[in-house]
Symmetry: C2
Subunit: 278 residues, 2 copies
């Protein structure tokens, strides 16, 4: 099994105002499996262990009602955001998990700043919240489509850093994962959906337009990740061509984040000692 420390090799270096980013998304191979335990079968066993451990951790988080945990999932179409949530959080008590899907903004949401709808969904004390897409769409889509210039982009990166700092300083542990697949892998996954008529509901012909802009999206991701990875809200790049590897790695990351909180159940209440219910 991979050493725990290795996770940090997939962490995007923290943003540094003074220097150029040393981060290259293309430097990480989407087909690599650094956190596999050896085979798909053993990966599934490890994932079951992680799931049970996350469930136990989440119960403490909930009991304590002080800390908050936020997982942000981003990635190209078919990169496996839904599949990751299903696989990694399958064992977690549904009572303790809130999943927030961010779709194209509504007219009301567009009438506000881009963090408005996000802020209202931030995790409360004791909550584990997963953002399925997020405010990062707002520094990817308009950039790729050319509707936002560089100054506006740099302002948004800063707004994001400031916003996440505020969340972190109010007790939120933030983990951000970019599910990194190759262009070939996406072709296979899209083709598989097209070839299976029962999966057409997941698909629209316009989905192929984003694929045509693949390189621009990779560039936009690279810049956004470099500009918004911080000590308090780091980005991790998850090699995700292998689904089992992707699940194990996201699970390991989140479990490590939970363990670092050293959560304990609240102490017994003196006022309840010896009470007999009538």
């Amino acid at each position: 099994m991979a050493k725990k420390n290795d996770l940090d090799e997939y962490r995007v270096p923290a943003f540094d105002e003074s220097g150029k980013s040393k981060f290259a998304l293309a430097g990480i191979d989407p087909s690599s499996k650094p956190f596999t335990t050896g085979s798909k079968d053993t990966d599934r066993e490890r994932l079951a262990e992680i799931g049970a451990a996350l469930d136990a951790q989440q119960e403490r988080l909930h009991a304590q009602r002080v800390q908050r945990v936020l997982l942000v999932l981003q990635g190209m179409d078919t990169s496996g955001k839904d599949g990751t949530i299903r696989a990694v959080f399958h064992e977690v008590d549904p009572l303790g998990l809130r999943i927030v899907p961010f779709k194209a903004p509504t007219l009301t949401e567009l009438a506000h700043d881009f963090l408005w709808r996000v802020h209202s969904q931030a995790p409360a004390a004791g909550e584990l919240t997963i953002f399925n897409r997020s405010h990062y769409e707002d520094v990817l889509v308009p950039v790729v489509l050319g509707s936002m210039d560089k100054d506006a982009r740099l302002r948004r990166y800063r707004h994001i850093r400031d916003f996440e700092l505020m969340l972190a300083q109010n007790g939120t542990t933030i983990i951000k994962c970019m599910l990194h697949i190759s262009k070939d892998e996406q072709r296979e996954r899209l083709q598989a959906r097209i070839d299976d008529p029962t999966k057409h509901w997941k698909f629209d012909v316009s989905d192929l337009d984003a694929r045509k802009l693949w390189d621009k999206y990779q560039d936009a991701y690279e810049e956004a990740l470099a500009a918004t990875s911080t000590d308090y809200a780091p980005w991790y790049v998850i090699p995700a061509d292998s689904k089992t590897h992707r699940n194990v790695m996201v699970g390991e990351l989140l479990l490590r984040a939970f363990e670092s909180l050293k959560l304990e159940f609240p102490p017994a209440k003196e006022s309840l000692k010896g009470v007999i219910v009538e």
Copy 2:
């Protein structure tokens, strides 16, 4: 196994403006197990089947994005609302499930009508939503504490019926379950929490105050259920002294509700036929 039709024996008769209610909560034995499959072990097996079937149904609901499903859970303290959610929905994709806990209202919520905070949480198209407590708290607590007179109560029952009719006529399937435990069973469960210091965080001494008002709560439940059970949003009383029985019965009810929707995956899209991804 119990016949499916039997579920209707636990359905509170639909409200009828003209007549007196024929419903007596005390007529249902909390310790009975009409839907058990025979033993705890076989009940757990049946529950696993139900969970897998609910997961499959929920995926269709989500794919179709037309219907909505709302499960309302009510019951006295320790009746097992949390436990039911954990057990019955364990297999359901967390992406397709939204759980809304209603706590004591905030000042902002109190500044609105009692349905205001509830309406904003109603399920969207394709969603399965569970209310863990609900607007029914607002026709129970104030009634028991004597802060709401009969006219105000009758108005609220009507407001609830009208609200739920509107949800139903907009494609929401509503199932309401009252988890029905005996006073003795509650004593045992409360005492067990007190005797286990690691469970004190779930407990406050003031929780015992509600128990002292047990009979008043049973009366308030009986009246509220009779006044708000309708063809479009029926109440079911779930004998819940046995946790495995409670889980199986709630699961069977919800599964039957899903099956009655006859959900199918959306048809294949002609526009995708023969498309080759480049």
